[in-house]
Symmetry: C2
């Protein structure tokens, strides 16, 4: 095969990485803005997050179409197939992170002028979760673009931290809601924001696992033990 | 190309549909059991749902591996590429439905012996959501296996119903939690169960959209207007 053709194919697969980088950068900004809007009770910023969601959907679709074109172009070798399938799945995980960011931003608007303004400890816990989830996502993107399997493997270690904070925030908020009538609305929205950050951490972990597999052809050990135990928790009353 | 080879390839792609059917049937059972466990407060049944989750994960992985093999086998035409990429995405949506069913089953165990036993109206609303979500999923599977694009298109119409019930259940539960101290835990778990059924409806809709695209090559009109407005709701207090 003449070198030119090989080169041309390489460039085509590189387009996929460029498209992922573009989408990744945009979703990272969505998540950063959602976190800032939540932390600083900035309703204006929260609104801009929602407005950008359609663009993320469009980017996901473009990545799928590009992958379909690349598959049609010629028969692919196993390494290429792994990269291309990983791209589709990573785009889908990023779309979900964008969607969850939009949801966090929306809920921030209600929480911003709520009856729990004084309850800084709960709020701070959720912000802490958000920061870890954002860092996980940034590190997963970084592992993807530096093609670093070790870095990818490291991302999911942070997931336990997010889960621990989530469990304690959940417990505290239930207790508060039971003790202070009138706090159910804000308390529930705060729990949902916390849950959304926890899910973003999961999606970042999924991205890292996909990156690891695409680079090495090896799945990371299957079941990380999940420590979100809130589905079996009852509040102190 | 001799007929035998064409036939052999057709059989290989059929294996993909068999794998999807197997996984679909299993996830449908998971969802059915989770709904029954919730409705009949059957903790024993709830536990069996969680135990089957690892099998669903394994099936998803197998489908991805089969698709990778099929891509490697030879260069594919656009129709085949659509079917193969749809299979990967549908398996992923089904895995999420299995996961959400597990979560519903877990929460059912807590709700089963709770302080809100008497609150049948809220409970009934959530069961109604669950039934619609299950029907959506069954219809999406049916559209997939009968290769019926019209049936696929019809699935997402039910989504508005699920969203409407969710919004009213959410509102009622917040009001209840504000009025009756001590109900925060069960109320929150019920909201999560309702939210999970709502998300299952979304995943069923996504499957239907993928089926439609795989069959016709045409995307359904992009933005169905979402009517989950709970992220902007404040309870009557």
């Amino acid at each position: 095969m003449p070198f030119g053709i090989l080169k041309q194919h390489a460039d085509r697969l590189d387009k996929l990485e460029v498209a992922l980088a573009t989408m990744g950068g945009m979703v990272e900004q969505q998540l950063t803005d959602a976190l800032t809007a939540f932390e600083q009770r900035d309703a204006g910023l929260a609104k801009t997050v929602g407005a950008r969601d359609a663009e993320t959907d469009r980017q996901e679709r473009q990545i799928e179409e590009l992958v379909a074109e690349l598959f049609h172009e010629r028969r692919r070798n196993p390494g290429e197939i792994r990269r291309m399938m990983a791209a589709v799945r990573i785009a889908s995980e990023m779309e979900r992170i964008g969607d969850l960011s939009k949801n966090i931003a929306r809920r921030s608007i209600i929480i911003a002028d709520s009856d729990l303004q004084g309850e800084h400890s709960k709020h701070a816990g959720v912000v802490r979760m958000g920061r870890i989830a954002l860092r996980q996502f940034s590190e997963a993107l970084d592992a993807l673009f530096r093609r670093n399997a070790d870095a990818a493997r490291a991302v999911r270690n942070a997931d336990d931290q997010v889960d621990d904070i989530y469990n304690s925030v959940f417990r505290e908020l239930l207790t508060l809601m039971n003790r202070m009538p009138g706090t159910a609305s804000t308390g529930t929205h705060l729990i949902f924001v916390a849950k959304n950050f926890e899910r973003i951490g999961d999606h970042a972990t999924n991205i890292a696992e996909r990156v690891h597999y695409a680079l090495t052809g090896e799945q990371l050990p299957a079941e990380r033990v999940k420590t979100d135990v809130t589905s079996t928790l009852i509040a102190a009353e």
